[in-house]
Amino acid sequence: MIQDAALGFSQASQFSSLVATAIGVMFGLTVGMIPGMTISTGIIIVLPLTYTLDPNISIALLLGLYVAGMTGGSFTAILLNIPGTPSASATAIDGFPLKERGEAGRALGIAIVASFVGGIVSFGCLYLIAPQLADLALNFRAPDLFALVLFGLTIICSFAAKSLIKGLVSAALGLMIVTVGQDPMMGTARFTFDNVNLLSGVHFLTAMIGLFAIPELIKSICTPATLMPETQKKIGSFWSVFPRLADLKQILRPMLIGSPIGSFLGLLPGAGGPIAAFISYDYAKKSSKNPEEYGKGSIEGIAAPESANNAVTGGALIPMMTLGIPGDPVTAILIGALLVHGLAPGPLLFLERGDFAYGLIFSFFFANIFNLILALVGVRLLVKLLNTPRAFMMPTIGLLCVIGSYALRNSFFDIYVMLAFGVIGLIMRWVDMPVVPLLLALVLGKPLEEHLRVSLISSQGDYSIFLQSPFSVGFLSLAAFSVLWSLVVVPWRDRLRAKKLEGPTSQ
């Protein structure tokens, strides 16, 4: 294990990996910052590259993007009062007033440092918990895994939707789509209507490009130019971004609240950055000595949500690596990127490819380091990118959607599928139905069916097998609990949401 960790460290600290991490960070800061481009859009742009780059390099790139995207979102939240990504919504509450007082640099610095602390705390969790969880997960049998995946799906639904039922409908739609193609167990063609292209089914990356990028693209194109924000903003001198010691002392407590909350919520599939940010903001405010400052430009109010949303990233990597269960679109893509290179995330990853597993963990560490340095040094330069004309950016994203969906399997049919999912995404937004459950159902649908069927083969058709293992009973109860819980918590969350957050909880 120590050997694997050392190997992983040397892999992650190779020059090519470090360069990839740095590029990913720059890119992540940019897409996170630009309103209308989310981390998912950024990932879609680099997606085709991950098909051919070495796995450790593409993972380093993607991790850099993931980590930095969370930070980049806070720049626009602070400067323009528009969150660059949904996760930064809570940052705007105090970030924008502070900027209005002429302390933009200070606000940005606090956000960047808090992001770093959140990231490093979650790195600690990842490093300590992931190998242990992988060991535990080795004991899981098919019924346990079925129950676990089911729990993953229900908790995603209950987090993602204002109305639980719409989240569940979305997930069910995804499960229906996943059954199109050849049956994973026997190769029987299902719902293919004798169409050759449908035999291999819908790839979730194709669906993801359509569901996320196309509606964002169209929304951005449909925003009349006059409504686009005025982006010329002064930050102050180079050194104004570097936080003062007194500030650091003051934000220590909110960061220590935000980081564990973020790491824990990252662990739960579907919770994601926005929820973690709001919960820790709320909690930091309640426990603060001077809560009356919150909302008027308190640096504590920036530090708590920013540390939380970055801590989510490390937390989300834990179930992704050890169980193969993605908690958000980004980790879903990470799984896809690993699979393209013949690496299957799951409990065996640590046993069979421990070097790679630890390489991933250390790449995440470096991503946080680079994020701190590049954001502090480069923020003044990066903000200038907000002026890139939409007229060049949006069509480029359009082309990249097409490249990304084609290059995956070299199939024209996949491009059509991608566009069809774009239309589905538009309709779902129109009826306020979350797309994340559908997407994750596409990832989890196959394992769900396989584990269910293998369980029943193993028990020779006896359904009580799901009640015989403590793990399976535990996960099934958690699944039921998550459904009930979301029925109770939703009113409370709506109240929280009404305070500030507007827009989707997707990333």
Binding site: G187, V196, L199, L351, V454
Partner: protein, 325 residues
């Protein structure tokens, strides 16, 4: 005006003619673009590891990218169906194996190996019956005896219903003479199911079993093969132990039916060169598969021989061409 049009037209025709000549020249030179290399099993398995390395080596020979793509499901059925439906231009090749014979034999695909063209065999390796490292069975005989005492209780994991490992497990089952439950858990879970204790044993290619066996997590009991493998010299063959089961896993390359002869020849050449490349040889030595390129008649013989073995195993278990009701 008239003259202008005429000149333009002549120019256009000339340009077109030149372009088509040029394209004709280019077309003659196969390959001119990337080749899709379809792998029938999932990431991290032996088919995947060996396939990716071979694809890489072939790419160096052919001078174009050879891109590995996993199309998993139905014990290989998904890949073979995809290949059969692909354009016969040489730009889609499949990393076929014994699973072509088995998945068609069991009825997962409605065609047999003659519906595809074959470049030939690349390598072969034994499949191994393994149990958990701390299992109570030290030898295969103990395992078989336990099975006889508890028929229908033991669970053996394989890479998918209709895959080569499934049929090898059926062969083992036939040889032991007692019923077992076959768990079609797929490449990703095959070893994991044994480690978690859900399955009592697994049948998998040597390549995929070797690493965990070396670490003491798995114990290799026996191999339904003709002779012992240098990488695992302690693992007896089933024949030595007095059980009649012999089915090796060969891996070969296939292209869609009707691929032009010149293209097939070029690919065959690339396949043989890649199979004998240093990188592939290193992997073979490390993981215990035997590189033995077989093309043309020799490979047809192998297909016929193994096909007959597969059919007899399936008939013995009553799963040959299990039709839809």
């Amino acid at each position: 005006m008239y003259r202008f049009t005429k000149t333009t037209l002549t120019g256009l025709i000339g340009a077109f003619a030149m372009a088509s000549c040029f394209m004709g020249v280019v077309r003659a030179e196969f390959p001119e673009k990337a080749i899709e290399f379809v792998i029938p099993f999932g990431a991290g398995g032996s088919a995947d590891i060996e396939g990716r390395l071979l694809a890489n080596a072939m790419s160096k020979v052919l001078g174009v990218p050879v891109v590995p793509v996993n199309k998993v499901g139905g014990g290989g059925a998904v890949t073979y169906t995809h290949l059969k439906n692909s354009k016969p231009d040489g730009y889609t090749i499949a990393w076929a194996s014994t699973s072509l014979l088995t998945s068609s034999g069991i009825g997962n695909i409605p065609f047999d190996h003659s519906a595809l063209d074959h470049l030939g065999q690349v390598e072969f390796q034994p499949m191994i019956v393994s149990v958990k490292g701390n299992a109570k069975w030290q030898t295969f005989k103990e395992f078989a005896d336990y099975c006889k005492a508890n028929p229908g209780k033991l669970k053996i994991a394989n890479s998918g219903t209709g895959s080569a490992t499934h049929i090898a497990a059926v062969a083992v089952e036939n040889a032991m003479g007692c019923k077992v439950i076959h768990l079609p858990v797929g490449i990703k879970r095959r070893n994991a199911t044994v480690l978690s204790g859900e399955a009592d044993a697994a049948v998998g290619p040597l390549t995929a079993t070797r690493r965990l066996a070396k670490a003491g997590k798995l114990r290799m009991l026996a191999a339904p093969t003709a002779e012992r493998n240098p990488v695992a010299p302690d693992v007896p063959t089933m024949k030595e132990l007095g059980y009649d089961a012999d089915l090796d896993l060969f891996r070969s390359l296939a292209v869609p039916k009707g691929t032009p002869a010149a293209v097939v020849a070029r690919l065959k050449e690339a396949m043989v060169t890649a199979a004998n490349s240093a990188a592939f040889k290193d992997l073979a030595k490390k993981n215990g598969f035997t590189i033995k390129p077989l093309v043309g008649k020799d490979f047809d013989q192998r297909l016929a021989k193994d096909g007959a073995v597969v059919i007899s195993i399936m008939k013995g278990a009553g799963i040959y061409k299990s039709k839809t009701k």
